[in-house]
């Protein structure tokens, strides 16, 4: 026994001795001074392709800081205004009348990190490389678009498209997360036999940081600010020196570890967490904050609203009366409380998400139309489903719970949206009957059979979508449906969507923050629909609406700057609302915490110089404004 106790004590001693070398408060695990190192959580898992920084080699984990810090696009996104701006391009492209020739003027003064000038040669080479190299994933698509790309002079490039292509900057510049067209150095890539097989472990870049070191096991990458940061795209455009000499992108593991890392100041910026996790972290460490300093904490400007999608190639989900019935059978107030305790901006119109910009551009202009909109019932009556009082109800409810909720109507609209669908189960019953359902004493029937259907949601991620689907399930059970719910893992989630192997699902077939909505809606054209079980290139929901399709086709021919494009966008939203192919709940609600122990001046509601999108390519334009704590 004594021997065993002795062995145990020896083991414990060895354990404590081996603990030496842990990161101290003054330095990071990789040996850089903590005060000079901004530590950012990587959104994706540890990379199995460590040391691979070439975005044109498949398998490159671009989200590991690679597209946020190293590479640059022709056009970037101002996420606050919802507008693009020139990054490597000096301005937006100038097209001819039929949108087949596009002149792009490049920004002068930018240099690659090895001192070479960035010029038109780099742009022409990159596009031609994609066009000619079949090993690059975008090769086939680029060949359907581009006839040629030519250098006009050192800072001017002419793109010629095979057909009219009015949206060059939207398609080949950033509108949300990033874009596949990242410009590579011609003086390096042109010497390669096959750029699609080039790892590029010592990348020469136009962004403000270069790679200093990386973990061969794929858990972290350490970036170092360029000595000539003034010559980077960010330096030339903003003139502001990024304060962090080093940026460490790290994979932090499971949710518990992420929280502990944040609470113990081992990371400065996290990606999305749940409100419960945020509460734990903020109660343990007062340096941790979110977009809003108090309730509702989260930002509501993520461009993918979550809600309920239907597989409309299947009856009775193909009936708009059924879909409207579902919308009115659910109490949206209760759904909101169930998802994130009432936090979230209502984004109930189909397909377009109520980000700040889209709410102003599309939701508010049709508010009067929504107030006048009537669903005609087969008993000769009609019903206006719009509920403009949601924001005030939620404000009062949450104020009564002790939250500090603004009283200003404008601020309330920003917080809770302009309205939602009414809770009207009696009208919902009538609509379900119009869809062909029959209510008997023991429940609902369809075509003589007991009616049941299944709701599905993605198991692993996207808490907002999962909770929304669960809340919808509760509402529909309460209404009297005999429905079921199941979770699906990511291996089958997308395939089920594309093949139509679902009935109602927590998919999010929406997204976009730009005024021109063509790129957001073109997948909804009915000529892209394929039979159930097959995979097409349009939406898996298979919404078959000719009016909407005609609008999409007409939009395709118009410049995004044409006033008629905006009018058609408004018209599309009305058509979609009447048919309701998707019931939105809230805009993308993201809790993205920051830690101001070592760094401060992160974007926030009170300092909204950008959105809190650390995983988007626009992060490089946020970094210069994050400053060390004095």
């Amino acid at each position: 026994m004594r021997k065993i106790i002795a062995m145990f004590l020896t083991a414990l001693m060895a354990l404590s001795l081996c603990a030496f070398g842990a990161a101290s408060a003054e330095s990071t695990e990789v040996g850089t001074p903590r005060s000079e190192t901004l530590i950012v959580e990587c959104q994706s898992a540890a990379s199995s392709t460590a040391g691979q920084f070439n975005p044109y080699m498949q398998g490159t984990q671009n989200g590991f800081g690679i597209h946020q810090l190293l590479w640059s696009h022709l056009w970037e996104m101002d996420t606050v205004k919802g507008e693009q701006f020139g990054d490597l391009a000096e301005s937006m492209p100038v097209s001819n009348e039929d949108f087949t020739e596009h002149i792009v003027t490049l920004r002068q003064g930018i240099k690659w990190s090895d001192g070479e000038d960035f010029t038109a040669d780099d742009v022409v080479y990159t596009v031609n490389m994609i066009l000619t190299n079949t090993g690059i994933a975008q090769n086939a698509y680029y060949n359907t678009v581009f006839a040629s790309v030519e250098k006009v002079d050192d800072y001017t490039v002419k793109f010629v498209t095979k057909e009219s292509f009015p949206r060059l900057s939207q398609k080949f510049g950033v509108t949300i997360w990033g874009n596949d067209l990242r410009i590579m150095p011609e003086h390096i890539y042109s010497k390669l036999d096959d750029p699609s097989q080039f790892q590029n472990s010592e990348p020469v870049v136009t962004g403000p940081y270069t790679v200093k070191e990386y973990d061969s096991l794929g858990n972290w990458i350490l970036y170092e600010r360029r000595e000539d940061w003034q010559n980077s795209d960010v330096g030339v455009i903003t003139g502001v020196e990024p304060q962090a000499k080093y940026i460490l992108f790290k994979y932090l593991g499971d949710d518990t570890t992420r929280q502990m890392a944040m609470m113990s100041n081992q990371v400065d910026i996290l990606c999305e967490v749940t409100p419960e996790a945020l509460e734990v972290m903020t109660s343990a460490n007062d340096k941790i904050a979110c977009w809003y300093p108090d309730y509702p904490y989260a930002t509501f400007d993520d461009p993918c609203s979550k809600g309920i999608a239907f597989e409309m190639a299947k009856a009775p989900f193909s009936s708009k009366y059924f879909r409207w019935g579902v919308a009115l059978a659910m109490n949206f107030d209760e759904i909101s409380m169930n998802i994130f305790e009432g936090a979230g901006r209502a984004s109930v119109l189909p397909i377009l998400t109520a980000t700040t910009a889209i709410q102003e551009l599309y939701y508010k202009p049709i508010e009067q139309w929504l107030k006048d909109f009537e669903l005609v019932l087969d008993d000769g009556t009609s019903f206006n489903p719009w509920d403009p009082d949601y924001k005030d109800r939620m404000a009062e409810k949450l104020s009564a719970s002790g939250y500090d909720i603004p009283t200003d109507p404008i601020e309330r609209e920003a917080m809770f949206g302009i309205g939602c669908w009414k809770y009207a189960p009696d009208v919902a019953e009538k609509l379900f009957v119009m869809a062909g359902l029959e209510k008997k004493d023991d429940g609902w029937y369809y075509e003589g059979q007991p009616f049941t259907f299944e709701l599905t949601y993605l198991a692993e991620t996207e808490a907002q979508a999962g909770r929304g689907t669960l809340a919808a399930y509760d509402q529909l059970i309460k209404f009297g449906f005999n429905c079921t719910i199941s979770s699906v893992n990511s291996a089958t989630w997308t395939t089920n969507d594309q093949t139509g192997n679902f009935e109602l699902g927590g998919y999010w077939p929406t997204g976009g923050i730009t005024k021109d909505i063509y790129s957001q809606i073109n997948g909804w054209a009915n000529d892209l629909i394929v039979p159930l079980g097959e995979i097409g290139s349009g939406q898996g929901s298979r919404w078959d609406n000719q009016q909407a399709t005609d609008i999409i086709h007409e939009l395709a021919t118009l410049s995004p700057d044409d006033p008629k494009a905006y009018e058609l966008g408004i018209e599309f939203l009305k058509v979609a609302t009447e048919d309701l192919p998707f019931i939105g709940f809230h805009s993308g609600t993201k809790y993205v915490p920051t830690n101001s122990t070592y760094w401060e001046n992160y974007p926030s509601s009170e300092n909204a110089y950008n959105g809190p999108w650390w995983w988007w390519s626009c992060f490089k334009f946020i970094v210069p404004y994050i400053t060390p704590v004095q």
């Binding site: 842990a22 398998g59 090769n139 398609k171 096991l217 932090l252 593991g253 989630w493």
Partner: protein
């Protein structure tokens, strides 16, 4: 002669087991309602929020060709038997295309093997020694205490033990990193030092629960053996307790434990997934989990083929060495 007949038969069973195993693992993932190309497109679309229908169609076509998913199932199967089984060449990893599956597995497998094999073997040795003492000298107070500890620890869910270790030693005491941090670029000494430090918490967590099981099972075996008549006879002959324990009880009890050890080596692959996730320890467990979630057929095939071959071979070796341990067993 009997040995060679037995060896040939056992070798045939070994080959048949591997063949059936890898055949199942080739076809089963392909029966899932999932598609690696769609999963990849879905990930791209989820990030960017939108993808032009023409772009989606073109990308789908390109990826199907690049991933080698264009041929018939039988062609893919024959190709796999030739490349995968005979040459351990599983083709490119679909989720890390075009990186080679074999090289990725090769990078992570040593960590899994190092951690799991070491902790399994240490747990086996400690557990059997303590179990023997607890079973052979069951009336002693120390035996009861040790058995009590084992019974108390063993039912605790693994993740709970791991989390407690992580919270106490990494978060509160800050003796270790929250996630395994192995320095691979700064020389051998730094690598070894960081590897040892990164392996301690995961290793201890695996050891604690693993030891509990071996104690309980060995204690039970030793107690049963100790009550056998030949042990009583040995006592009547006046043999010392240590000799009885070592030569009579231990040798007769350990056989079952050797079989169990050979079988438990199979969990070296699957059993380390939770450890790798909680402690961020590099290894093939996480690789397999990601591969399943992303329908990376080649990676699934690679990891599981190696696992099947390893388990089958371990069992084969155990079967072949039995007669050397127990003379009562013959090759027949």
């Amino acid at each position: 002669m009997k040995f060679w007949k037995y060896f040939g038969l056992r070798l045939f069973t070994w080959a048949l087991t591997i063949f059936i195993g890898v055949t199942f693992i080739f076809f089963i993932p392909r029966m899932f309602p999932s598609d690696p190309v769609e999963t990849m497109i879905g990930q791209i679309q989820a990030r960017s929020g939108q993808m032009d229908p023409a772009e989606k169609a073109a990308l789908r076509k390109t990826l199907r060709v690049q991933f080698g998913l264009e041929g018939s199932l039988s062609e893919q199967y024959l190709s796999y038997l030739n490349r995968g089984l005979l040459h351990f060449d599983f083709g490119p990893s679909l989720m890390n295309f075009p990186a080679d599956t074999r090289s990725i597995i090769g990078k992570y497998l040593p960590y899994t093997l190092g951690l799991s094999l070491t902790s399994t073997l240490i747990a086996w040795v400690i557990g059997n020694v303590i179990g023997l003492l607890a079973g052979f000298r069951k009336d002693k107070r120390s035996s009861k205490i040790l058995e009590g500890i084992a019974i108390a620890i063993y039912p605790i869910p693994y993740f709970l033990v791991a989390l407690v270790l992580q919270i106490v030693f990494a978060f509160v005491l800050k003796w270790f990193d929250l996630q395994s941090f192995i320095l691979t670029n700064n020389g051998v000494w730094q690598f070894v030092r960081s590897l040892v430090r990164a392996s301690i918490l995961p290793g201890v967590s695996m050891l604690l629960l693993g030891t509990g099981w071996w104690i309980i099972s060995m204690k039970s075996l030793a107690a049963t053996t100790a009550a056998e008549e030949f042990v009583l006879y040995a006592r009547y002959r006046g043999l010392s307790e240590s000799k009885i324990g070592k030569d009579y009880v231990f040798r007769n009890s350990i056989l079952t434990q050797i079989t169990a050890l050979a079988m438990s080596l199979g969990t070296v692959f699957s059993g380390s997934i939770m450890t790798e996730i909680i402690f961020g320890y590099p290894g093939v467990g996480k690789l397999l989990q990601s591969a399943i979630l992303q329908s990376d057929y080649n990676m699934i095939l690679g990891v599981i083929t190696i696992s099947i071959v390893a388990i089958s071979t371990a069992t084969l070796i155990a079967d072949l060495v039995y007669p050397f341990i127990d003379p009562r067993i013959r090759y027949s």
